[in-house]
Symmetry: C5
Subunit: 261 residues, 5 copies
């Protein structure tokens, strides 16, 4: 589970509720029509902005911001060095059997290409094209949230505008001005909360997650090509370590030896 | 038909009307002069921003946001593998006859170039140049909507400013202040609705549609060049699959065999 | 003449005047000091932002947004195929005489380079460098208008701020508040009109015009290099057609034959 | 220590306190609930925007904005020329011993690669990949501060909105309007101070620091590759000097000779 | 001297003073605490945003916006053709003596490299690296002004916020509301003037100046490499002319002949 998404969202809501309780009461902030205008309008315009399948896919993408099994680059480097060792000792074909046990589909595919004897140039071409389009599809999910984050405050203000226009037309009782404006402002509040507490953090979280996923995949491409080129595991380790921060770097080959791999 | 555009626009309008009905009545939101200032001003400035033909072309482009026959990348991959099979068995020249039956003009053109014996370098050059300029022309349509989306709120506020200036000059009767400001705010409402409910979603929808169209065309270029190079249909399938998400991928050659192609 | 610039500007002004007449009178919007603060301030800051010659050049550039003889890419393709035919039949040197009749200086220069026997690599180098710096200089004109478009609302608000500060200091007579604020808001109105009705559309129009001019010049470079390489007019036609939308494409060689060229 | 960060922050706070004291008193600006809403909300949304480790890493990164030992490019050039001299006189292997004494890990790693006899192409590849990912990780820290800088004013306004909604609902006592609004505005004040006095300057400072660090590392890569290529120290000096401003350039080889290196 | 900077700044100030005098008096706009909050806060945050030496360097950079000896590309072309003539007639070594008389350090350095017999690839490498880092350093100065331009309105509003909070807390005497708000708004006025009349124009002017300087230096690199390659002065002239607008182009070789060079 992605603790920071859950903790951040809950904390944000708690802080808002705390702020409301201090001088008012929550009931004033629960107004169905305001929800309809702000959330409804935001969803409607976001829906109109994207093809239907991109819009519905967003729910699946959303899961990533909450439940996320981080593929540690650390583990991937170790995995690739293990593969490089196998390839060195038993030949590229021996990777076939080994690939069966791999969980990561991208790495698996890369090994299959190598085992099939695909030319290095083509392997790079295929894996990098795949990377480009993975990034492309990921960007889709982010764009939906960013678009919603832009629409939410706009519809919040539209709701307030509607409230103001209605109120100003019938300005008979001055004592009703305050409460009416109070109600009108609730939609602005909704729009701002939706945008700043929900959509913007989710869009940013997806961007960060995708950035990490791409980094791991770039690491895999580099490693796979090195394995195919029959490079020395020591050199491969040196190359792959450059992808991660110095503090995370370990002596992977040594670790693998201890594990008896 | 593009359901999400239509549904999004209708839902957005419904939500706004619902919001208005709750505390006011629709008649207050129908004000011809306000329409003239906001919509008129927006169109005038957008017109001045573009060459006449780009502006008038926008109506045709607009159609794409509503009626859109999505060329599925799935189908295109199958088509290209079918073509690769033909080329393998009967030679490149056999594609000539086959090309007649193709609907897509871009794919057709590519095959014609191959059949004519054009050099691979030149085929890539021609198809990619075409792609660049297709993207360029598509961007035109989006820009018109984006420009309109920026002008709409500006003219909405200009209308409100005019209303305020007029009202403030003759501040005799305090009881008329409210209704006058109510009227003045209607243009801001118009500007915001035009921008957030119409122009911005349409601009974004066009951008998304074009992104997909370009992806399909990039897939065609890659496929056509592979066919010309006489690559193995299995390799071609592997290459083209990288353009689409893993879940959409099928075993295209098997499918084709079943269909007896 | 560029109809859309003129029509857009006139329509925009008409709509604004119509909006003003509805509830007020134009005289309230004619205020010399407000013009001085808003327009004067905008021009002063724009002047300070650019070297003097860039600023004065803007007037010449401005002409382009109004009077513009569009070089149709259609005509240019035809011209280049005509040149290719000449080169094929009578040799590259025959182009010399032909070049005399050309209006376009860029095309003329390119032919001169070819006739002089300049190496292809150098021809491309020279023409593309020229293109880069043409784009550069064009961008200058746009930047001046964009800068002015950003300053205008800022100075409009500065004017209103000055009006407000003066008014609030001497708040003796409540009945004068309204008219004073009305006057103060006029500068905001000016700033917004200047930006949205004048500077932004002109900046955008120049950007669009320049985009088209560059496209035509890119087409010329491609064509000139193909002529120099002695390529087949049929191939040249095929290549150049990719620069323009399918609907605009014609059978240029056939047309030329009919014209007896 | 980075004097400008500390001085800038202290001066900013002093100026704000001075401004407050002139017409009010500080106590009005110390409001725990406002701190909770603004700072709490900002931190919560920033937390939700990033993976947990990126968020916690920020504290370490923050240190860089305050305590920073600038690696002078000047010193690095000298160091590299010294290394080049050693390599020239005693051979590349002699660098091994020398490298032990180096503080900079990046430079050390580069020399180790050279001493190990790694191919130049691979050395460049490894060092440049490392550079790309260092920049990547640095950008992380900046993004956290930028994100916080965007959220702070938003939550400041949300707090004010909550205050306004609460106040307007119970508009019994007109004399309480002023003080209530005063309290409501304090959150906007907090949000703006947090963003403009803390988060934005820190984000910018980190960006500048990282820019300098990358420049020094690029200089090292260039120098290391030149050493490996066995280039003349005079040429190396000439090349490396181009990275720094003319006024900072010295005659490094002469200096080294004087030092007897 | 850069007339447009000076004229723009003076005109802007004159227009603002004129606007103030019309309905108020200047004394209301001179408020030391407001200056401290707005200008002080802006400088403090800008200081915290940059390393100390970048901040102090800004004063030197600032000079460029006022006093600027424009190196005319026209003159540089002529100079380079003169050099090419010398190199052609008397050999590359003859440039050594000639270089002594050159004022421009960049051109001088380039010639020294050529005279020293540096390989063309390395000359290009050195000069282009130098160009990249010159641009880099120039961007520094612009960034400082842009950062200040962003902070100024923010601190202006902070000052107004402080004024409002103080005023609203002690709302005893309604007649003091106007003057108090008037004073509070003065900081907003300061912030806007600082940003729009000073920082933004200076940042833009520096950007334009640097753009021109880089263009001239690119021209020099191109020319120097052509001289080293022993290209024909006629070709060099043709190449270099592409950097400048057609109207500025002259027959440089003819001019030089008349001058007897």
């Amino acid at each position: 589970m992605d603790i920071s998404t859950v903790a951040g969202l809950i904390l944000g809501i708690v802080f808002m509720i705390y702020g409301i309780f201090l001088s008012g009461d929550l009931s004033a902030y629960w107004d169905v029509p305001s929800v309809v205008i702000t959330l409804g309008g935001t969803l409607a315009s976001t829906l109109a902005s994207f093809p239907l399948d991109d819009f519905t896919n967003t729910l699946k993408v959303l899961k990533k911001a909450f439940v996320y099994k981080d593929t540690s680059p650390d583990e991937v480097i170790k995995e690739i060095i293990r593969l490089a060792n196998v390839a060195r000792k038993e030949g590229l074909l021996a990777l076939d059997e080994y690939a069966e046990t791999l969980e990561d589909q991208f790495l698996k595919k890369g090994i299959m290409l190598i085992v099939d004897g695909t030319e290095p140039e083509l392997v790079r071409n295929i894996l990098e094209t795949e990377l480009v389009y993975i990034e492309d599809r990921h960007a889709n999910g982010q764009r939906v949230f960013e678009t919603a984050a832009n629409f939410a405050p706009a519809f919040g203000m539209l709701g307030t505008l509607i409230g103001l226009i209605n109120m100003l037309r019938t300005l008979d009782d001055p004592s009703s001005v305050g409460p009416s404006m109070s109600v009108a402002l609730v939609t602005t509040f909704y729009g701002s909360v939706l945008s700043n507490l929900v959509f913007l953090p989710l869009a940013q979280k997806l961007r960060e997650r995708n950035g990490r996923e791409i980094l791991v995949k770039e690491l895999m491409v580099e490693g796979l090509l090195s394995i195919q080129a029959g490079e020395n595991p020591r050199i491969i380790e040196e190359k792959l370590k450059t992808f991660i921060p110095p503090k995370m770097r370990k002596n992977y080959r040594e670790e693998l030896e201890k594990e008896g791999a």
